[in-house]
């Protein structure tokens, strides 16, 4: 990280004089092509670097830069110049923040972000500006649904995807009814919908939806409620500190081992060090897992650990794939980013060789990907198999 930032800084100093040239290259004139290929490719990173999601922002940035470094620091023959904005995970400032990249820095592509609400704020601005956008996390369904656009791409997941496959899983385990518990906010509700749809298709019944006011972490009342309902299974979505506390409370309330706990993969990602043995045996679905044991995954993990002295996580993978997707787009037009239609076409056609396994994009530009069933073993989310092969988000309301 340290080294990289000094690079950023110098990059800016060099690049700022070239702003005028790059703007001119933005015009879709064939004559501008040569110019565009000489200049640096401007990549805007809009991610949380402060606040609750700071760690995720860093993992995504690392993953993205790793993908670029692996290509010699160049995409389509052009060097990269980074512009960074801390989005603070604050939706109220999202349009303004993304504007810094689009209008001030005049970036060619925006990478971001984690928080769903911020994603929605970005979408509004980026739809109008038409700037190329790759979202490496935020799972708001609308981005590749009702609000979809040709320049919007996502390399992570839709909220719906992360729980939809659980229906099949629960059915296979013989569970006939279940309770879903999550925070009362958009991502939680979308995951609940995804699960409900999948479970009901299998003939299961969602007995009750339980909501904890966001971002509260006092679960005792609803755990008691669960104990009184006595469902066959509990499905949960929480993340970060909330997830850690939920797992611990679930165990402490004595429910663990009596009513099996399932969840969206985020329930057990990045928190296993914090929860002791409270996570043990919890099964979740997600598009990434530990122990995938593919050549690509091994190479990625090794390279990441070497570069950043950290173990990669699902967020790093999503950032890495954002880099790979962008590379595919620029290779397709030989670095001529001004040919936006060409870039989009190349990205749409890309087959991403990801650490999570190969995936392609749906028509709405969301990954069509395998959802793994994982089980917590020790400090790992061990892969148990594929819960759903090539799961595609239904992209409801996307007319683009």
């Amino acid at each position: 990280m340290q080294k990289k930032s000094t690079y950023d800084r110098r990059g800016f100093l060099l690049g700022s004089t070239a702003i005028a040239g790059a703007t001119a290259a933005g015009a879709l004139l064939p004559a501008g092509t040569a110019l565009a290929q000489q200049g640096k490719l401007k990549v805007g990173l809009m991610l949380p670097y402060t606040g609750t999601y700071a760690q995720l922002g860093v993992a995504i940035t690392n993953g993205f830069k790793l993908a670029i470094e692996e290509r010699g620091g160049k995409l389509g023959g052009r060097e990269i110049e980074y512009f960074t904005v801390d989005d603070e995970s604050n939706p109220a400032k999202a349009p303004e923040n993304v504007n810094k990249l689009v209008q001030r820095d005049k970036v060619d592509v925006v990478i971001g972000t984690v928080h769903s609400g911020v994603v929605m704020g970005m979408a509004k601005v980026l739809k109008e500006s038409g700037t190329l956008w790759i979202n490496p996390n935020g799972g708001a369904g609308a981005m590749t649904g009702a609000a979809c656009a040709p320049n919007f791409f996502r390399t992570s997941f839709s909220n719906w995807q992360t729980t939809h496959a659980l229906g099949k899983v629960l059915k296979a385990k013989g569970h006939k009814n279940a309770v879903f518990i999550t925070w009362k906010y958009a991502a939680g509700e979308e995951m609940m919908e995804g699960f409900k749809e999948g479970f009901e298709k299998e003939g299961g019944k969602l007995t009750k939806e339980l909501y904890v006011p966001f971002p509260q972490v006092e679960f005792q009342a609803l755990l008691t409620e669960i104990a009184s309902i006595k469902p066959d299974a509990v499905v949960a979505f929480f993340a970060g500190g909330g997830a850690a506390k939920f797992l611990k409370d679930y165990q402490a309330a004595g429910l663990k081992g009596k009513i099996p706990l399932y969840g969206s993969g985020f329930l057990t990602d990045g928190v296993l060090d914090a929860v002791g043995d409270a996570g043990e045996g919890v099964e979740t679905t997600l598009h990434y897992a530990d122990g995938l044991d593919t050549k690509k995954d091994k190479a990625f993990r090794l390279a990441y650990a070497k570069a950043f002295k950290l173990q990669p996580d699902v967020y790093a993978v999503q950032g890495y794939d954002a880099g790979q997707l962008l590379a595919a787009g620029l290779d397709g037009v030989k670095g001529n980013v001004a040919n936006k239609v060409g870039v989009i076409k190349a990205m749409e056609a890309a087959k991403i060789d990801s650490p999570r396994g190969t995936w392609t994009l749906s028509k709405a530009h969301n990954p069509v990907q395998d959802m793994y069933l994982r089980k917590v073993v020790g400090k790992e989310n061990k892969v148990q198999g594929v819960a759903w092969k090539a799961l595609a988000d239904p992209a409801r309301g996307c007319k683009a």
Partner: protein, 328 residues
């Protein structure tokens, strides 16, 4: 100090600001638009904090409510007329301020701070937890309001410069309005109440009614800012009425120097620009990741050493405040 200059200075500033679009920088034009909107917001709060002596920690409620009002009043994919959506949104804010004002004005001091916060939090959860306004992801205003006179379009809000001029006009109008109000006998009464409520009551002033009028006006003016903010980016999210937002605008008022209208404007400029500068990775490199550390320390320094805010600092350097509304 030359009193003619102090009279003209605000006009000079507005005139200079009006020329800004000539710079042809889309980003800075949009940023400045936002600063002006926040200036309206800060002035509306200054009316309460600086002139009426009521510290509201939930002022974002009125700001956000106007935004949501526009989002919900406008048909989903068609444009809405500014002529009725603007007054309607402001009226909703005024009404909400009137009702909440009747309740919160029963309390004083710290309790007032907290009960205003409580009402704002309630509204926050109304929009965050229900589907009414798109829940926690927020809601879009797809088309900007139109401003037509008959068939003629007066201002095209899609055009950044024209929107900017509208905002500038409304900022100046708010300033003028407050200047007038505070200079009137009503304003003097407010100041009297701020200084000594009991005495004013003993003198037979209907203190509660004066305070309620001020509270309602303040809510309505915050509504102007909120409406404009929602129009600017076409996106509202519950976060615009969170306590962080209420805190931020309070910072602006104190930073600028409360009890001076121009202080609120200066505070809005300073606050937004500080964030802008400190978080600029291009200038500060790795340190920008921890930009909030510098921001926090600056805020603390202001609290300790600049009680009169930036406006007071200007005064200390031998200049009188540009337009001290209360004493001219």
């Amino acid at each position: 100090m030359n009193s003619r200059l102090t009279k003209f200075l605000p006009w000079l500033v507005v005139g200079l600001l009006a020329l800004f679009p000539l710079m042809e920088s889309t980003f800075y034009l949009q940023l400045l638009t936002k600063v002006l909107i926040m200036a309206i917001f800060a002035m509306s709060l200054d009316l309460l904090v600086g002139y009426t002596g009521l510290v509201s920690f939930g002022h974002a409620a009125y700001f956000g409510l106007a935004g949501y009002a526009l989002a919900l009043l406008a048909p989903k994919y068609e444009t809405v007329s500014l002529w009725w959506s603007f007054p309607a949104s402001i009226a909703i804010c005024a009404l909400f301020a009137l009702i909440t004002g009747m309740l919160v004005l029963r309390t004083r001091g710290i309790y007032f701070i907290m009960v205003t916060l409580a009402f704002a939090q309630m509204l926050f959860f109304v929009f965050h937890d229900t589907k009414l306004g798109g829940g926690s992801d927020g809601i879009y205003i797809y088309a900007k309001p139109t401003m037509k006179l008959g068939e003629m379009e007066l201002v095209n809000l899609e055009k950044l410069e024209q929107f900017y001029w509208l905002v500038l006009f409304l900022m100046a109008a708010t300033y003028m309005l407050l200047h007038r109000v505070l200079g009137s006998s009503f304003g003097r009464a407010l100041l009297g109440i701020k200084v000594n409520e009991h005495r004013m009551r003993a003198l037979g002033f209907p203190v509660f009614r004066y305070q309620l009028a001020s509270f309602t006006l303040s809510g309505a003016l915050a509504g102007i800012a909120g409406y404009l903010a929602a129009v600017q980016y076409g996106f509202v999210n519950p976060e615009i009425l969170s306590w962080h937002q209420s805190g931020a605008v309070l910072m602006m008022v104190i930073l600028g120097g409360m009890g001076t209208l121009h202080g609120a404007v200066i505070g809005a400029f300073a606050f937004v620009l500080l964030q802008e500068v400190l978080s600029n990775q291009a200038w500060f490199g790795i340190a920008a990741k921890h930009w909030q550390l510098a921001m926090g320390m600056l805020i603390m320094l202001v609290a300790l050493y600049l009680p009169q805010g930036l406006a007071g600092l200007m005064q200390r350097f031998g200049r009188k405040p540009v337009a001290e509304a209360a004493d001219d």
